[in-house]
């Protein structure tokens, strides 16, 4: 049931062959995904899932690429050489989840302060202050 609701195409990749697959999606005549709409991550407990939303202006198709990374050492190559929008999207995922995008030309914090938050706010092991387990249950 949910397959219909998920956008048309999908592909699961690994950090090792990510760049090769992304280059194929970008340049292959069958795909021509000329823009990367969004990069984000989902915390799946032991794994961090990086989700890329691709779109083609030429064929008007959507595509989702997923990469699963170990939560304790999440690193994968940056796709900013293929789509420039990844320059911003990857930095956001880096601030929020602590994902290391290897080869990113400017990996400074973007939404976080210059020295970083000191934690990764969108990971599930970070609870909001004032929520159960933090601040002794007080609502802040």
């Amino acid at each position: 049931m949910n397959e219909e609701k998920i956008v048309a195409g999908e592909l699961i990749s690994t950090p090792a062959d990510l760049i090769a697959k992304m280059l194929e999606l970008r340049h292959d005549a069958d795909f021509q995904f000329d823009r990367l709409l969004d990069v984000t991550a989902v915390d799946r407990g032991n794994a961090l899932e990086i989700v890329y939303h691709l779109n083609s202006l030429k064929t008007d198709r959507d595509f989702v690429v997923r990469v699963s990374l170990p939560a304790d050492d999440p690193r994968l190559p940056s796709v900013s050489g293929i789509w420039q929008s990844a320059l911003f999207g990857e930095r956001e995922a880096q601030d929020m989840f602590g994902v290391v995008f290897e080869g990113h030309p400017d990996p400074r914090p973007l939404l976080a302060p210059e020295e970083g938050f000191g934690f990764f706010p969108l990971r599930k092991n970070y609870t909001l202050p004032g929520r159960a387990g933090n601040a002794g249950g007080r609502c802040v």
Partner: protein
């Protein structure tokens, strides 16, 4: 404009030094708290680095500890000058995930509200651009007219800016006969307002000279940068989700998508001016076809979408606003990510500003129409 090559000791061939200038975060033309670090060679910008995050509130994290309906007011605070469009994008995403059908009348009201908000947002843009380029008077006229729309929204939802009017399954409440009368009056007055802007702002020779031919970027590069909305359309691409992938009932309306040919600041500005007229066309058609009936679907008291995920995007005044929701079958989203158009549009600042004169940086920022509440989330 040719970019001067730096010698190894940070000087230009002429022997002058690069100058670093901070623009913002407190600067009137950054429309909020955006900081741009400019590297200047005389008056020419060599590099512009945007610094974001001053308004980061962690909205995506907050979503994970709130139920689906409880998150609607947070979407108001993303792009606070087009809250209706944000409400609509979020509610449609949840409806898509949970399989909720929306009554016809609610669909029509939603379209009217979203397009009215687009006009209000573009009016603010026109005025703010004039203001940024030194035309203080222009702003007064567009803000006067925008207030009319805010009064309409106030009548329908009870607030001027943060509406939370679009709800999951429909809209908050029905619109009154008074609302429809006032809306018809506004639509009748709108051509006069646009003529006034044409005479006062768009037709101004100095205003045109400040925008024409500045910051021309090829469409392919903007696509790679993830730029969406009027800025991309000004470069000649007919990329509008309302036409390309009609959400809600948009396929029932006839309107044009203005596109540019050159892709300079002037066309980026004119896209918005032209879109105001197109939005008015949509509202007139929606008013014409407005059916009777309920404005809220019969939805369960507790919204529990099935396990799964969905990405749904709307065309807001600033570009493609997408919500990516991962549901684990509970009442709260497991993960909610927002693809904010302003965030990715700001990523293009470095490209847009390279080689322009420092006085034009304010113009480049103005026609990018950033809303920092959205960019920083």
């Amino acid at each position: 404009m040719a970019q001067m090559k730096l010698e190894h000791n940070g000087t230009t061939p002429a022997g002058t030094e690069l100058y670093c200038l901070n623009m913002g975060p407190q600067h009137p033309s950054t429309h909020g708290v955006l900081r741009v670090m400019l590297e200047l060679d005389g008056e020419t910008v060599v590099k512009a680095t945007p610094v974001l995050g001053y308004l980061h509130r962690g909205i995506e994290k907050l979503a994970e500890v709130r139920t689906y309906p409880q998150f609607i007011p947070y979407t108001d605070r993303l792009d606070y000058v087009s809250s209706m469009c944000n409400n609509l994008a979020y509610c449609q995403t949840v409806e898509k995930l949970a399989g909720i059908e929306v009554p016809e009348r609610a669909e029509y009201i939603r379209v009217m509200m979203a397009e009215l908000n687009r006009i209000a947002s573009h009016m603010l843009f026109i005025g703010a651009t004039a203001l940024d380029l030194g035309g203080m008077t222009g702003m007064m006229y567009t803000f006067r007219d925008r207030e009319y729309i805010l009064d309409l929204f106030n009548l329908a939802s009870g607030s001027r800016l943060t509406y939370s009017y679009v709800r999951i399954g429909g809209v908050m409440n029905d619109i009154s006969a008074e609302f429809i009368t006032l809306l018809r009056k506004f639509l009748a007055d709108l051509p006069g307002m646009l003529t006034e802007y044409d005479n006062l702002i768009n037709g101004n020779e100095i205003f045109q000279a400040r925008l024409k031919g500045v910051s021309i970027i090829p469409a392919a590069q903007l696509v790679s940068l993830g730029v969406t909305g009027p800025v991309l359309r000004a470069a000649g691409l007919r990329d509008d989700l309302r036409v390309k992938r009609p959400y809600g009932i948009y396929e029932r309306f006839h309107f044009n998508v203005p596109t540019g040919t050159v892709g300079d600041n002037w066309e980026r500005y004119m896209m918005r001016v032209l879109e105001v007229g197109e939005s008015a066309k949509i509202i007139a058609q929606a008013l014409e076809g407005l059916p009777e009936g309920p404005v809220m679907a019969k939805i369960p008291k507790v919204i529990k979408p099935p396990v799964g995920e969905v990405y749904h995007a709307n065309e807001t005044p600033r570009g493609e606003l997408g919500f990516y929701i991962v549901s684990d079958g509970t009442t709260k989203p497991y993960r909610l990510h927002i693809r904010r158009p302003t965030f990715y549009n700001l990523g293009s600042i470095e490209t847009l500003c390279r080689g322009v004169k420092i006085a034009d940086v304010a113009a480049v920022l103005a026609v990018l129409d950033p809303c920092m509440g959205e960019a920083d989330a």
